[in-house]
Symmetry: none
Subunit: 228 residues, 4 copies
């Protein structure tokens, strides 16, 4: 089933009142976006099973019934939220323009971007968790799953190749593995921040701690790709 909000079957607007029709349509879009945003926050905060349709409606300031009108059921809503989240990060990644930078700078920039994106979008982390707890079956069903294939991998491959050619990078680095590693360095620290803070007894999100983590991550990744 498609997870795109279905266009509610409404009576075709009579030709004489196009403006009103437009108005309606904009309201509809606005409502859907309100719901999606509210749902994203709710799912991020409580996970799929813990999220409450009532709370989503309340967050959105809309009637609960409307959620069903646009998104059919909780799971479809969750899929729609996931797609939105993936689209958002892919859009952000595309702003990066790494191809114009020196290889080492590009890598550094990517690490920094990943770190900052996760910091600014904590919901992305928990949504990803939830999706995987549910075996990513929502993703499989989605026709867009493959589209999500980040163009970053190709971008990263190109950077690695440039670096290898100019002698600054070691060879044989798999861009997919590297991409996952960069994400993992940032993700684990942030996603498990509460447990780590509790165990190690200090706040891992203080400005100083954040700076240190980013610096460490850059060192690890560059330490790996740079020809020694």
């Amino acid at each position: 089933m498609s997870t795109t909000p279905r266009t509610p079957r409404r009576d075709p607007a009579p030709a004489s009142v196009p403006v009103v029709a437009e108005q309606r349509s904009r309201d509809a879009e606005r409502s859907q976006m309100l719901i999606l945003t509210a749902a994203r926050d709710e799912f991020a905060e409580y996970g799929l099973a813990g999220a409450r349709m009532d709370r989503i409606a309340e967050r959105a300031g809309l009637n609960k019934r409307l959620i069903y009108y646009y998104f059919d059921e909780k799971e479809s809503l969750f899929e729609a939220v996931l797609e939105l989240a993936y689209r958002d990060i892919r859009d952000a990644e595309q702003q990066l323009n790494l191809q114009e930078m020196a290889p080492a700078d590009a890598i550094k920039r990517l690490v920094q971007f990943t770190w900052e994106y996760y910091l600014e979008h904590p919901e992305f982390l928990t949504l990803l968790n939830s999706a995987n707890l549910h075996k990513a079956r929502h993703l499989h069903q989605s026709q867009r799953a493959r589209e999500l294939n980040s163009p970053l991998i190709e971008m990263l491959a190109a950077i690695l190749e440039r670096g290898r050619k100019d002698g600054s990078f070691r060879g044989g680095v798999d861009p997919l593995q590297l991409y996952i590693s960069i994400a993992g360095l940032a993700y684990f620290y942030l996603s498990n921040n509460h447990t780590l803070s509790a165990i190690f007894g200090h706040d891992l999100l203080s400005p100083k701690a954040r700076q240190e983590r980013l610096s460490h991550m850059v060192d690890v990744i560059l330490g790996y790709v740079l020809r020694s």
Copy 2:
């Protein structure tokens, strides 16, 4: 609230008393462990909110009421499961005996151990996720949180120091950051395996893929700590 089952464990039956068949269903300690194991699996599979007390009872082969008898409520049971999981991994870590190995070998061994532990204990990953989704409040409440402070950090600090002294390692490596990085490299790959597989279109858990990932992880971590 303590997460220890309220009824004190009985001393194990003296060896001279033959264990009769009936005893099986009257052994408090055994029942508690059955519940804990069942709960661990259920929580790992569905998360805290998605887990069902009914299913836990069924998995344990025990009356649902008994869960409440020993663990009071779902959340306490979850706490008890978490403590068990932490204790298990800490116990495993303590078998490592890294201090006797050459620094680079020790680091390599630690990466490998982490990777294998996560592979063999996939429930640990989702439990960690769930705990953090719930803001690790379960951990905070636990008096044992601090005990969990992995002795591995000190062990790792010693290894790094040894490596630095013998000239093989770079200086200035923070053992806590390194520990988190090692965990993160393995964790992200495995925890988000479903999403990653869907996006990148191939099975990340094939034997070959596993081998490649471990190899990459070792390269990244050693690439970082080794003096170049």
Copy 3:
């Protein structure tokens, strides 16, 4: 917490709108009143702890879920029922118009009214019992507690004063004490009717017995207030 049903009552349907059959099950105010009445009977019969939400729903002919929709939880429902009961008796008291009667007649009338109200509203007695068993905490929480302050006390004070002035009543009678005494004479007999009947071996609620009790009560109260 307020005990008012959270959903504001809708304005009653304008007279011009014909009440269709379907409306019956879609009338919020009616549903709430059905629930309240059913709950009153259930609480009166079984007390707060003994009352069953299932039975209340059944008595009301409504879905159990709807009770929670309007009243949140058992205790709030109980509070709402109590408020209704207090409101009802206060409303009835206000119909009395004692101020226009001769003092002795007014007192007699009040005794009679109390007796008859308790007889016709046996639920009032058990609700009062239940409320007090639970230390009237429901009342304390209610903002309306003070409103319940029966205007009867002032009315009674005025009657006593009139009687004292015209020489028929003794002086120094505390209207609050008298009010409680009148209530107590009727209440104990009715509320503990079962025990008393069992102990004394005859039916205390036969028409003859009722008449005798009322007569006795009037004698006691008048014997007290009348100047001898």
Copy 4:
């Protein structure tokens, strides 16, 4: 079914160890009394439906199973508690020796006794409430119900007769009605103390308020029985 604690069928004590048997028996009696006392307090505090067998065991400091051993089930235990309560008040009444006092003094003494007994035994009031909420069916079942028939009624009849003969009391006073009235005056005030305090806005149990109530009660009852 009898509500008397059944004598647990125990092996007859061997003739050689009578002391131990006595000991056992005393322990048994002690346990039963501990249970009864605990149950009385629990039932008084929460009513029959609200009482918890677990809490009773805890209050008694005994294993829950033992309650069932001695009292079979909750309802039987409640009956036993009721019988104990009735026996207690009857015993206290019998200490009164009203027959030796002047009629008016005897009446006054009875009012005072009732007031004080209720004050000192608040559990009696709630137990009576609970019994009647459950339609006193526990009492009906009890073979002792009739025994509870307070000898006070006869005592009261004698007093009234003495007063009538010596010219101090009015004639035609029904001792049963009077007995109920005396109880009702005290009972309503104390039993509904919480509601009354909340409604009238002051503490009805302050020493001063108690004194005033007793004084009022005496006035009411004497005002009624004394020949004017």
